[in-house]
Amino acid sequence: MIRFVNASKRYDSGFDALQNVNFHMAPGEMAFLTGHSGAGKSSLLKLIALLERTSRGQVIVNNQNLSKVPRRRIPYFRRNIGIIFQDHQLLFDRTVYDNVALPLIIAGYSHHDIGKRVRASLDKVGLLSKEKKYPITLSGGEQQRVGIARAVVNKPPLILADEPTGNLDPELSAEIMGLFQDFSDVGVTVLVATHDIALISQLPYRVLTLKEGKLINDSQAN
């Protein structure tokens, strides 16, 4: 599903955020991406979502070589990826329902389908009763779950999450990780960047560790 071949990322500032990263994730696999702050976790996820382009090497997602995806195709490419951000990226002037419906509206689903899918998605994250609320009235954990509902509402084959449990208490964090496990169980590929080592050490998933832009450890390769 995801393959990095000698991928490097140098920002315009000249900073090498990633250097010669190689790994492969099979479809349906779940993995954690960890490392110190500034190690390049977010940069790696951005390469996968085409929020940044590689400077050297290749990234292949869903059998597509990303360096060959032209700018105008990027939106269509992104519709196949559910992205969850640490800062949620929710729209505060729209209700929870409207936020979650946005990817479906963009993809041109019918009104009827949208209602069904949004409710299913909100039900999955346990927020069905809050569909008419505005995100600002929700707790941090709830906002994060709205973000997750939006990311999975059009059932993408790949989910990327950047510090999804960033400032949540351990209980909520475990709950959110549980959601990702559920998605993984039904065949979705899931890659979660986090530095919550305590949490991921309890879970039986692959861990990729970055240090100063280099992939220094891959628990599965061992």
Binding site: P75, L90, L91, G108, S110, D113, N154, K155, P157, G187
Partner: protein
Amino acid sequence: MNTQTKQRDNQARPGFITLCRSYFIRHIQVFFYSLGQLSRTPISSLMTCMVIGIAMALPTGLYSLLKNAQQLSGGWESTAQISVFLKNNITSAQAKKLKSDITQWPDVISVHYISREQALKEFQELSGFGNALTALNSNPLPSVLIVKPKLSKTSERATQRLLKKLVNLRQTDKAQLDMQWVRRLYAIMNIVERGVLILGALLGLAVLLVVGNTIRLAIQNRRKEIVVMKLIGGTDAFIRRPFLYTGFWYGFFGGIIAWLLVSFTLLSLSTPIEKLTTLYQNQFELTNMSFLTTLTLLCLSILLGLAGSWFAVGRHLRDIEPQ
């Protein structure tokens, strides 16, 4: 991708028909959504529309007045006549002979003879200098032939030729075309027309810039929304759409305001102008904007609104990329 995902995927994507229908519905939704957005900030929206309206009303109003002036003066050219003042030694019989000669000319409609005595009488009646003139022992006025030339739109040169022929007559003292002022008026109106066109072009550009700037601000205000849309796969067309419709509404309401302004101005002018023209023994009614002019105004205004937002969106949407 395993089979499970694939299956789910197939049923996940909307079909072609659904896509077309949602696309259409989406357009209508955004159409009214962008209207709703404008009504959220009624004062600033109204101000923008007013600016557009005034900018559109100025050239439109001037154009309407100009059209009216052209219509009013349209008949004046046919009043053209050449006054041929005959030499003092020409007798009345000679003048009459000349009159019937000229009447035969192909580019002449009619010739009217005013004898010296007649001229004096008319002058005495009209000027009130009657007594002063009787004090003179001889009649100072020449006899005159009033020649009406045949006229068509392109007869300018023919008229000049006729004038020359009349000037060169042995009997003529002086001949003059009493149409110079109509000519001048037409020339002035031509200049004014061009001026209105240039003014219209400049103000059209102003509308373009006003809409462009307003949309630029709107884009900046909704930066976060645009970023989110891009993050979850919104195409440029999708993101552009509400802004384009906003531009459409600005143009539309600006056009309506312009129409109202011009209509009311013309309406309020019509009574005094009618009074004025009656003083000149002229029946004239100020015509308001025709349906076609109104339609053109509205279409132009909408077009400018759309174009302005198109430029703004084209320039600024690309700059906003998720980080």
